[in-house]
């Protein structure tokens, strides 16, 4: 088996006195789409924040392509190829769609490459090209999510982490975004998707990790997880 792109070993983290993650271990293979599912408040967002360096790990390791990045700063981690699309889009108010996308490429200096990737984002989500001069926060929810994902791609990451792709979106839009995600993945970017909507996550991802109260409860191929009676009971309502 090839070396995993992202490998997490025994990771614990939290805020102040409150520990949120307990001894998390998981691995994401290069080229795949993996997902992390679990209920509200289970620690999924904290896990992504710890990977991207926003939250400090109290113990354990995060490795990217074999390199330990646990104590690395946020910008360094982005430089190593991990982009994090945060929960709730978090687009910059007062800046246009184009400026928001360009901020995704903040660390890059290859103007030709940036222009090419901007074109790629626009081809992926043509509506963004139409609206490129508009204040990004005036877009509809679905368009904002497209912009947020596009902004993530603009750093040309090896691994794209998306927190709650489907949050607050109509099912049709979720489907549209899922297709785009598959397209992005085909272009060679590994994806780690965090979702509360287990159905959507299992549909697009190959491997899944179930997080319960800050621990990895179950993991495996999503098609197996979808058949697991406990998961069907707890998350699929069947």
């Amino acid at each position: 088996m090839a070396e995993p792109l992202l490998q997490i070993e025994g990771l614990s983290a939290g805020y102040g006195d409150v520990r949120v993650l307990w001894d998390i271990s998981l691995a994401v293979e290069p080229g795949e789409i993996a997902c992390i599912v679990g209920s509200n408040g289970a620690g999924k967002t904290t896990l992504l924040c710890t990977i991207s360096g926003l939250v400090r790990a109290s113990s354990g390791h995060v490795r990217m392509a074999g390199e330990d990045i646990t104590a690395t700063s946020v910008d360094q981690i982005l430089e190593r190829g991990i982009a994090h699309v945060p929960e709730g889009r978090r687009l910059f108010r007062g800046l246009s769609v184009r400026d928001n996308l360009m901020l995704g490429a903040y660390l890059r200096r290859d103007n030709a490459g940036i222009a090419r990737d901007l074109d790629y984002v626009y081809s992926l989500f043509p509506i963004l090209r139409e609206r490129q001069r508009q204040d990004a926060t005036t877009l509809s929810g679905g368009e904002q999510q497209m912009c947020a994902v596009g902004r993530g791609i603009m750093s040309r990451p090896k691994l794209l982490m998306i927190d709650e792709l489907s949050l607050g979106l109509a099912p049709m839009l979720v489907e549209r975004l899922s297709e785009a995600l598959l397209e992005i993945n085909r272009s060679g970017i590994t994806v780690l998707l965090v979702e509360q909507d287990v159905m959507t996550a299992f549909e697009v991802a190959r491997h899944g990790f179930v997080i319960e109260t800050g621990r990895v409860g179950m993991c495996g191929a999503t098609k197996d997880l979808a058949e697991d009676p406990a998961i069907r009971q707890a998350y699929l309502g069947m």
Partner: protein
């Protein structure tokens, strides 16, 4: 430290200040008067800035207003004590009115709004020359007696005011009001949710923080015999008072007392020895305090309310 120990410590301090005429020369007595006066001001500020967590910069507004009201009444022939009490009441009422208006602001905006009070009142007083003498200032009838007797009188006055504010602080702190204010300081929205009438409580705290500044101002005017707008509405005072409180520990009972004493004694030493650079040294001291002693001398407390983590969107709702 138990509450009883705190009271004993405070009583000893009161005794030390009050007894200065017995064992020290005039210079020290004057110092004791100023310490008692500023302690009353910091204890007052503690109601709004410490207990409630609102960064008020209005101390000088109420001090100045009190001194002018007291001076004008005395000038009009009112007995000294009556003038002081009237000044206290007047300032209290006005503070309640201002409070209703500016306590809707939070954070920086509240700080500016409260600071704006100082500026606006100073400008009004200096513009209203016909009543206040404008920039020329105002003379206050002098207290009869030799310098020693006058000093002893005002030492007694300031110490009594200081003790009164301390006692009020203890009463508030132990009662429903103090509990509610602490809730507001910790999380104003949550306080609202458990049934604290936050607007009313904040106005109470603001009024309490103003009342005794008015008394102190009026007494100060009688003591010095002359006031002017720049001195009464002093920007330095309005910032020094919170700094002293932070130094001791905001929101605590003894913090303002310890902070004021430490700060003023240090300031005096600096003044005496480095005349040219006294402000710079004061500044360096303030910077060092913020960087190395953020919780004050007594305890680290107010910092806890800002342990917000980076990933929360925008600014959290906690009163900062």
């Amino acid at each position: 430290m138990s509450d009883t120990q705190r009271y004993v410590a405070f009583a000893l301090w009161v005794f030390a200040l009050a007894s200065t005429p017995l064992w020290a020369e005039n210079y020290t007595v004057r110092m004791a008067i100023l310490i008692a006066m500023f302690t009353a001001l910091t204890l007052s500020w503690n109601f709004i800035g410490g207990l409630t967590g609102y960064p008020s910069l209005a101390t000088a507004a109420f001090f100045g207003l009190g001194s002018y009201v007291g001076a004008l009444l005395q000038g009009a022939g009112a007995p000294m004590l009556v003038a002081w009490i009237a000044a206290t009441v007047f300032v209290g009422v006005l503070a309640a009115v201002f409070g209703v208006i500016i306590l809707r602001l939070r954070g920086h905006y509240f700080a500016i709004g409260s600071f704006g009070l100082v500026e606006v009142l100073r400008l009004v007083i200096s513009s209203w020359g016909s009543l206040t003498g404008g920039g020329d200032g105002l003379n206050v009838p002098l207290v009869q007696g030799g310098p020693n007797a006058v000093a002893q009188t005002f030492l007694a006055v300031m110490v009594v005011i200081m003790v009164i504010v301390f006692v009020v602080t203890v009463l508030v702190d132990r009662g429903r009001l103090g509990f509610g204010l602490r809730c507001i300081q910790q999380n104003e929205d949550a306080a609202d949710m458990v049934g604290v009438d936050t607007t009313r409580f904040k106005v109470y705290a603001f009024t309490l923080s103003a009342l005794f500044c008015g008394t102190v101002g009026a007494a100060y005017a009688s003591w010095t015999g002359y006031i002017d707008p720049t001195d009464s509405f002093s920007i330095l005072m309005t910032i020094k008072v919170p700094v002293m409180c932070l130094l001791g520990g905001a929101g605590t009972l003894l913090g303002p007392v310890v902070g004021t004493a430490t700060f003023m004694i240090l300031e005096e030493i600096v003044w005496a020895n480095f005349l040219d650079y006294n402000r710079a040294i004061l500044g360096a001291f303030t910077v060092a305090l913020i960087l190395f002693l953020p919780g004050g001398l007594l305890r680290i407390d107010y910092r806890n309310l800002v342990t917000r983590f980076a990933a929360r969107p925008g600014r959290s709702g906690a009163p900062a």
